[in-house]
Symmetry: C2
DNA sequence: CGCATTTTTGATCAAGTTCAATATCAGTGG
DNA sequence: CCACTGATATTGAACTTGATCAAAAATGCG
């Protein structure tokens, strides 16, 4: 049951029971991956779309001399590139950061889904547009923001994304990342991540311990990080497309 | 006539005359923008898809304290976010870097195009996937590469993109950007861009003068910049979908 | 408890920034 | 054709952010 994806999509537009069922049906083939294993590697030929059901993953690219950039994080409910199978080969790798359970959505199932369920198709387009907007925001993050803003911004983003699918608990959320992984994502050294974290802690802006992140005052962290959630487009924009069915499930 | 777009898409799959005509028909509403004017601003509500016909543009985001990040460059044939009108408001702005001529593709025209011309729809999906791959590569660029690699990488990318649509001339291509614009795109200061350019010139890797870029030895620049063009997916991957018509146009 | 991983600390170093001045260039109008 | 003007490019010097290297402390887990 890809309920995280459904919950995410319903931030855009309310789906019908039929829509939801179609999504369930598309996500039949399940697989699991161990922590730190590659889900797909640069050069592989993508044959289907991966949907993360449980656990965290990341896209990354390894440079020849060992430098590594984490390009994005996947949390439950995230799709790895709708229609990616149009490309001959992957230009990056995807790795499990925790144990990961995912569904492989075959090409045919996705095509059928978008043909027969226009509301789902639009919701998936919305999801694609948001993913790209997140990638753009990372460009801004890496290009312009200082270390402390950069890390604070990432924390805000992940918290808000997780809240959207119901995975936050009050002012805290899971954050199963090491400082080295944060460093590879933020384009900073692990040493500097460590010092930046201390600075955020000292300012009372975050608590990060035991793979959990707590943000006592989200507004304050947003302000310190120049975080504006508009790029996540979470304001139920597809309301006019909402399925109109009795609440009978 | 959106011939740059058609040429770009045909790197993925050969279109039929009918496909091409449908693209022409969709791109009817023309507009022009002066150098340095905004084509659309953050907060505006997008109602159609812009297709750059002539000139260069960029996406950018302005931070409250004046810092600016250029997020991507648009060259002729580039579409600004297919289906963007699903979003309530723009999370970034788009500005003309030179005088720009573009076509506004209305929502209905795009929907019709993708419904009636599956080959075009797939080609547009390919284009979307490549755009996102470029954005990811910028993440790697800003996160891991040194100033000289970063700038060299950008030059390689732009040259290869322009070559794909026939806008290069031997080993040179237009590059109508100032050093300040390069700086805003690369997350570096204009002073450092200037010094990095000198370094690239001294090494004989580039000539950049009068809004033209010359790359005497592309292989050498690629090597120095760790540039691997795989992420541009330019190897005619949709060949199996090629329209099969007599060459009668 | 013991081992591997992760976090933390200190000291030194380098890449890139900032500020401010000067030089060059592309248009424009006379 | 030249002088003027604003934009763009270039230079120098001091400074800052974050990197690197190496070691120690803490944590997690079987």
């Amino acid at each position: 049951m890809p309920h995280h994806l459904i919950r995410k999509l319903e931030q855009f537009t309310k789906l019908s029971r039929d829509d939801r069922q179609a999504l369930e049906n598309a996500a039949v083939k399940r697989r699991t991956f161990a922590e730190h294993s590659d889900i797909i590697q640069e050069g592989d030929s993508p044959s289907h779309v991966n949907l993360i059901l449980e656990g965290w993953a990341c896209r990354y690219k390894q440079l020849d001399d060992g430098r590594r950039q984490i390009i994005s994080f996947f949390v439950p409910g995230d799709l790895c590139d709708t229609h990616v199978y149009l490309l001959r080969e992957m230009d990056h790798s995807i790795a499990a950061l925790t144990p990961v359970r995912l569904a492989e959505i075959p090409r045919a199932a996705l095509d059928q889904l978008t043909e027969e369920h226009p509301r789902v198709m639009k919701a998936l387009w919305w999801d694609t547009l948001v993913s790209v907007a997140i990638q753009r925001e990372w460009t801004v993050n890496l290009g312009q923001r200082t270390a402390i803003e950069r890390l604070g911004h990432l924390f805000c983003e992940l918290f808000v994304r997780l809240r959207g699918i119901g995975l936050t608990d009050g002012d805290s959320c899971p954050l199963p990342l090491t400082q080295v992984e944060l460093a590879d994502a933020m384009g900073l050294s692990n040493v500097h991540i460590n010092r930046t974290l201390q600075e955020l802690r000292r300012a009372g802006l975050v608590v990060f311990k035991g793979k959990r992140l707590t943000i006592p005052d989200l507004a304050a962290l947003q302000k310190a990080s120049l975080f504006n959630p508009n790029y996540l487009h979470l304001d139920h924009e597809g309301r006019h497309l909402d399925a109109n069915e009795p609440v009978a499930d």
